[in-house]
Each structure stands twice: as C-alpha cells, then as structure tokens.
C-alpha cells in the first residue's frame, strides 16, 4: 500500500513550497510540488514609471535581490531597443559574478551540505587521516591537523553543552547518512571557512552596488557608478584593486575547496547517482555580455531536449526570437482562472483558489513551458548547455570535476551521471569554478576599457508615445530568469516575471506533463517516512526559492515546519 507524505513548512505566516509524495516499497511513486503563496506581486508595478521597476522587483525576494534588478533594467532597455555603455555592462557583470559566487557557496555549505554531512559523526574523526585525505584532494593550505583539531574541539564543546545551535535540526544518525567521520570533519571545517568567504565576496557587491542586499547602482540605460580613477568618492583604482583581491581569494576557495568537496561527497554517495534526473529538457540563457548590445557573451545559453547533448541549440542575443517566441505559462493546475496557455506579455494574474486537488488545481506557481515542454533550469542546465556548445571553461572544469570524483569513487564517470540529484550539486560547483575564471577576465576588461579613456556609464532612456514590448533575461544562480514588460505611453501596462523556481517547481500542465521537481522525485528512495531526508536532498539540489517575501520574527518559536504522514 502506498503512503502519502506531506512536507509542508508553514513558516513565517504564509507561503512556501509544499511537497507531497506517495511512497510505495521505499520509493516515491508520485509527487506534487505546490507553491503556497500567491505570486501576484507584478500587479504592484502596473501604471508605474518603467525606470523605477527595478527598485520594486528587487524586493520580490530577499535573497535574490540583485538578479531581479538586472533582469528588470534589461527588459526595459530591450523594449526601448537601447544599448548601454560597455563599462555599464562590465560593472553589472562583476556584480552578477560576485553574487553568483556568494549564492553558490552559501547554497552548498550552509543550506544543503547538512543533507549529506553528519556533523555529530565528525567527532569520531581521526584528524591526521582527515588532513591526509584533504591533502589528496586539494592544495588548500587551511586543512592542517592543528586547524582540524580546533574545529573538532569546538564542535565537541557545542555537543557537550547539550546544544548543537545551528545544527540542531540536522538528520544526525539517519540511515541515509553514509560519509566517513573524516569527510564529515573536513566539511565542518569548510562550513566555517565558507562563512568567511561568503562575507568577503559580498563586499564586491557592496562596493559596486553601494549596498547589499538591494543594490542601488543600476539604472535603465546603464549604471550610476561614476568613474574617476583619482577620485576618492567614485569608482577608482583603489576600489578596483580591492575587488580584484577579493575575487582572487574567492576563486582559490571555490576551486580548491568547494569543488573538491562536492566531488568527494558525490563520489562517496555514488549509490545516489541514479536518483533525481526527472525532466531532461534543459534551458539556460547566455550571460556576461561583452558588447553594448548584448550579442556576444562569455557564458553560453541554449536548450537541450530529452537529455541529448547533440541537439543543443544556442540562444544567441538579448533580442533572440528563439527565446522570445517560445516561452509560455499554463495555468491548468495552478490557482488562476481558466486553463489557458499564455505568452508572458499577455500573462494574467487572476487568482482562483480551490483546495489542493491532486488532479485539479494545487499550486500558486504557474507551469512555464518552452515550445510546450517543461524545462529544467539552474547550474545543471548551464553546464550541460555549455558542455554541449563547446564552451571551453565549462568543458575544462566539468571534466576536471568528473575526473576528481571518479578518482575518489575509483571509477570512470561520464557527463551522463550529471542528470541526477548529485549532478545538480556537482554542476553548481563546476559553474562557480567557471565564473571564478571569468571574474578575472571581466575585471581586466573593465580596467582595460577605462584605461582607454572610456568613462561612459549611462545612456538616457527615451520613452516614445504608444506601446513597446520588451523582455530581459538573466542567467541567475538558480537558473533562467526573465522579466517581460509592456510599456504604454511611458507607463507599465503589463509586467510578468518568470523566475527560475517557477520553471523547476511548477505544477503539471494541460498535457499532464510534470514539472522538474515532481518528475525528479519519482523513484527517489525514502527509508523512513517520518524523516524523509532523501526527498529533501533532491528538492534542495535545485536550490528552491519561493519563500522569501516576508520577514517576520516568530516570537513563540512555534513548530513552523511539519512533516505529516497520511
């Protein structure tokens, strides 16, 4: 008989991701992903000045602020057919780069590593063996025995004090936890170091964006960072060198710590490699534009269907009709009126709430489709599309990661293993390593361009009478983000954001095709229905982002996440 498990975090008043799975014989037989919060925030933008839209879209979400600012200004610029100065592209690129580094480091160490790492087990680790293991994986200098002893005794004092603090809700001792104590200790060591590096890389966003979260420096038409290399109050050489130093340091951490850690964890959980593929259609858009128009990019974009890297097709510019014409959203199983499929420019946000109906409507998230197909987005799509299109940095780091993981697992790993839960983690680390290489390049491009005497940062937007339609995309850390704007007589007449988590967490569509979360859970193991850690592993591998619109401190500390077994 099958058993229904509902993972329903009811934290912070309202709105979240709810996952329902039916489990039979220790495996998931069917799955539903449901967004529990009404996402009609776009309505707030109607009638506003398009030049202000980015200020509001940045507040859609707390953690992904920057990405909504970038996508919004690109959408309005696209509607006006604008180019922006090269400095503005490159300054935006450096912000995009720093934000992505930060996001991925936090995702692995602070938000998802504890799905795989048993912190309590680290207390059993032999520090000499741990140091030797670390040395075999990476030249990183901060893995020595002394440091490991310190981390271990710090952890011991936490546990002895009867409280695990930040680690309180880990699944310690769960039968699905398999890492040896030494790997667990190494991970705790790096958890602490990652806290430092995520803070550091945040400074780059703060220097360029004036503030983080919620950057202040972008504008429709460019950026607001005045450039004068000799002026203390503008973007100058001192600030640029500070940025370079930080990017170098983060690059070393990512390439010498984060990537090898993910390779080791993945290899030691090799029995998990078959789990979690789901939808094998992949979408990524190009990013890090190299010219004023957005026709050349350092990160490639495109589509792959049915997992066949041979059919990869590129998306090649900010204007590319291949993207513009093929994105739709269907609301058959979402809490909106009707069952229609609409292009985002014609998108509607008319709520129609029913209760949770397995065969009817069950989510506030719409079902985005590309040529009618569900698409997986995120680092795995970015890496597979890059790999398929022959993007050299992606191929280099993906091959390196597969070789490293293969050496630990004592087997040869091909890119096919990436279609999986663990593959999403590995791809995220690969993508971060690629971005670290490109950070150097984009810093040099910016400094080189300024050295030529170009200090332009802004082109004034002009809003003609009548209607203009635009779209702006950004390949955010979590995947393809697109904003779609209709401007009428200088005011916003429609605005829709198709966010990465909508692509991944969307419900079934009119043809009954499951969304990527739902499809990825089919066949997923569940050892203990009361502690469905394995379901969370697969969902966390996508880095979900739905739940951030409100911050309210919960004084009573009520149980705000529940797992119900029906």
């Amino acid at each position: 008989m099958s058993k229904r498990i509902v993972i329903d975090p009811i934290t912070r008043i309202e709105g979240h991701l709810r996952i329902d799975v039916e489990v039979e014989g220790g495996k998931v037989r069917d799955a539903w992903a449901s967004g529990q919060m009404w996402r009609g925030i776009e309505l707030i933008l109607l009638g506003r000045d398009p030049r202000d839209a980015w200020l509001f879209t940045q507040r859609f979400c707390g953690v992904c602020t920057t990405v909504h600012a970038i996508a919004s200004v690109r959408a309005v610029e696209n509607a006006l057919g604008m180019e922006i100065p090269l400095n503005a592209q490159l300054i935006r690129n450096l912000i995009v780069i720093a934000h992505a580094m930060h996001d991925h480091i936090v995702h692995f160490y602070h938000l998802s590593a504890l799905d795989w790492v048993d912190v309590v087990s680290a207390l059993q680790a032999d520090t000499a063996k741990t140091a030797a293991l670390a040395e075999s994986l990476s030249p990183w200098p901060h893995n020595n025995r002394l440091q490991l002893e310190q981390v271990k005794s710090k952890l011991a004092s936490f546990v002895a004090g009867g409280q695990l603090g930040i680690f309180t809700n880990g699944d310690w001792g769960h039968p699905a936890m398999k890492l040896p104590p030494e790997v667990n200790l190494l991970a705790v060591n790096h958890y602490l170091q990652a806290l430092e590096y995520q803070r550091k890389v945040n400074q780059v966003v703060a220097i360029l964006g004036s503030k983080t979260p919620n950057i202040q420096n972008v504008a429709v038409g460019g950026v607001a960072n005045a450039i004068n290399l000799d002026n203390q109050s503008t973007l100058n050489m001192e600030k640029l060198y500070k940025i370079k130093d930080i990017l170098d340091e983060i690059g070393a951490f990512v390439q010498q710590v984060y990537l090898p850690d993910v390779c080791a964890v993945g290899a030691l959980y090799a029995d998990w490699l078959p789990y979690g593929p789901g939808v094998k259609n992949y979408l990524a858009v190009p990013d890090l534009p190299l010219d004023t128009k957005g026709t050349q990019f350092d990160l490639p974009g495109g589509t792959i269907f049915d997992g066949d890297l041979g059919n990869a097709k590129a998306i090649s510019s900010f204007q590319d009709p291949y993207f513009k014409e093929n994105v739709t959203e269907n609301v058959t199983h979402a809490w909106y009126e009707g069952s229609g499929t609409l292009h985002p420019w014609d998108g509607e946000t008319k709520p129609h709430y029913t209760e949770f109906q397995d065969d009817g409507k069950y989510s506030w998230v719409k079902a985005p489709r590309f040529q009618g197909k569900p698409m997986q987005v995120g680092p795995l799509s970015q890496v597979l599309v890059g790999y398929a299109l022959g993007h050299e940095p992606t191929r280099k780091w993906a091959n390196h990661a597969l070789d490293t993981a293969g050496a630990v697992a004592k087997t040869k790993l091909s890119p096919a293993v990436l279609h999986s839960t663990l593959g999403r983690h590995l791809a995220r680390a690969v993508r971060t390593a690629v971005i670290c290489d490109l950070a150097q390049k984009h810093w040099e491009l910016l400094v080189g361009n300024i050295a030529k005497g170009d200090t332009a940062i802004y082109n004034e937007p002009v809003f003609p009478k009548g209607e203009q339609r635009g779209f702006g995309f950004h390949e955010a850390p979590r995947g393809t983000l697109s904003h779609w704007v209709v401007i009428r007589d200088g005011k916003i007449a429609n605005y829709q954001a198709v966010v990465p988590t909508t692509w991944n967490a969307g419900p079934r569509d009119d043809k009954g095709q499951k969304g990527p979360y739902e499809a990825s859970l089919i066949g997923n193991p569940v050892a203990d229905p009361e502690r469905p850690l394995e379901v969370l592993r697969t969902i966390h591998s996508f880095d979900p982002c739905l739940a951030c619109a409100i911050h309210t401190f919960d004084a009573e500390g009520k149980e705000i996440s529940t797992v119900r077994t029906l």
């Binding site: 991701l17 009404w38 953690v63 603090g165 803070r199 911050h551 401190f553 004084a555």
Partner: protein, 172 residues
C-alpha cells in the same frame, strides 16, 4: 569604539512587513548617529544577515513579530530570548533567518554580544503597499526604543535640528 548596527528587516511590498525598512528611514531622517553606528534597510535577507552581524558589537533590529497581542503593540527581545527555541528544519534557502545567522556566527565565535529586536505586531502582511494605521501609530514608540538602546550602548543619537524628509520611495 564598539560598532553598532541598526537594521530594518521586512518586505516593502507586503503591507505591514515594511515596518523595518520604514522605521530605519524615519530614524535616519530625524536623528544623527555617531560614526560607529550604521543604519540600514536589509529587506528580507535570510542568511545574508551574516555579513551585517559578524563584526558588530551590538545590533538593533526592527521587524514585525508574530506574537499574541493586538496590531501595533511593541515586543522587545534580547539575544537569549531570540535563541530560546531551536531553528526549524530547512526546506528552502530562505527559511533560515535571524536565529540561524546568530547561531552560525556563534559557532564560528563571532557575532554581536548585544542584540535587541524591536518588534511590532502587524495587522496585515498581505501583498500591498502601505502600513496599517495601528502599525504606523507605533513608529514614534519604535524611535524611542532605538534612542534608548543607543543611549544604553554608549552610542547616543542626537536629534537633527531640521529633520530631513524620509525617503519612503515605495509609497510614492
């Protein structure tokens, strides 16, 4: 001098959840603080609170609070009260918040020693722009608590002779 951070938390697009961002702007418009203090609206940062808490001696947080009582009432919490209950299981990266940031920093031996959360019970945090009347009416009391705490921390704010007009851009 010890560093002090005054941080507004909340979403300006979600009704009374704008309390934190609103209150820090109002405070900056009416008061001048010593150089050792910083005043910021952080929106809904989740674990991104970490960099803003790591190096400070004291933090004053302005936020809405879920608590028994009527809308507009103030609730004050110190560090121990905030950490009294363990954090919850994580489903999305946005679930972690203030508790998790303080605990993660505690594990690495960092973070503020002095924490005061000035909370206001909201009437509505549904989507929409603008504070409800009871929450707006609580703003002077919130200001007074910030001033009192800064005084206690030896980092007193001074009232501006001519207050500037707060930049509540989302209500324009």
């Amino acid at each position: 001098m010890h560093r002090v951070a005054i941080l507004g938390l909340g979403n300006v697009l979600m009704g009374d959840d704008a309390l934190g961002p609103y209150a820090v702007r109002l405070f900056e418009a009416e008061y001048h603080v010593p150089d050792s203090a910083t005043v910021q609206d952080l929106g809904t940062p989740g674990l991104d609170l970490v960099p803003h808490l790591a190096d400070v001696h004291a933090v004053i947080l302005l936020d809405t609070v879920r608590s028994a009582g009527t809308a507009g009432e103030l609730r004050l919490y110190r560090r121990d009260e905030i950490l009294e209950h363990p954090p919850q299981p994580r489903v999305s990266p946005h679930d972690p918040g203030l508790k998790e940031a303080l605990l993660a920093l505690a594990f690495s031996g960092q973070g503020p020693r002095e924490v005061l959360l000035i909370g206001v019970i909201p009437q509505s945090t549904a989507q929409g722009i603008g504070l409800s009347a009871p929450v707006a009416a609580a703003l002077p009391a919130v200001q007074a608590e910030i001033v009192r705490e800064l005084e206690r921390l030896g980092c007193p704010a001074t009232r501006r002779a001519v207050p500037s007009s707060p930049d509540i851009w989302w209500e324009r």
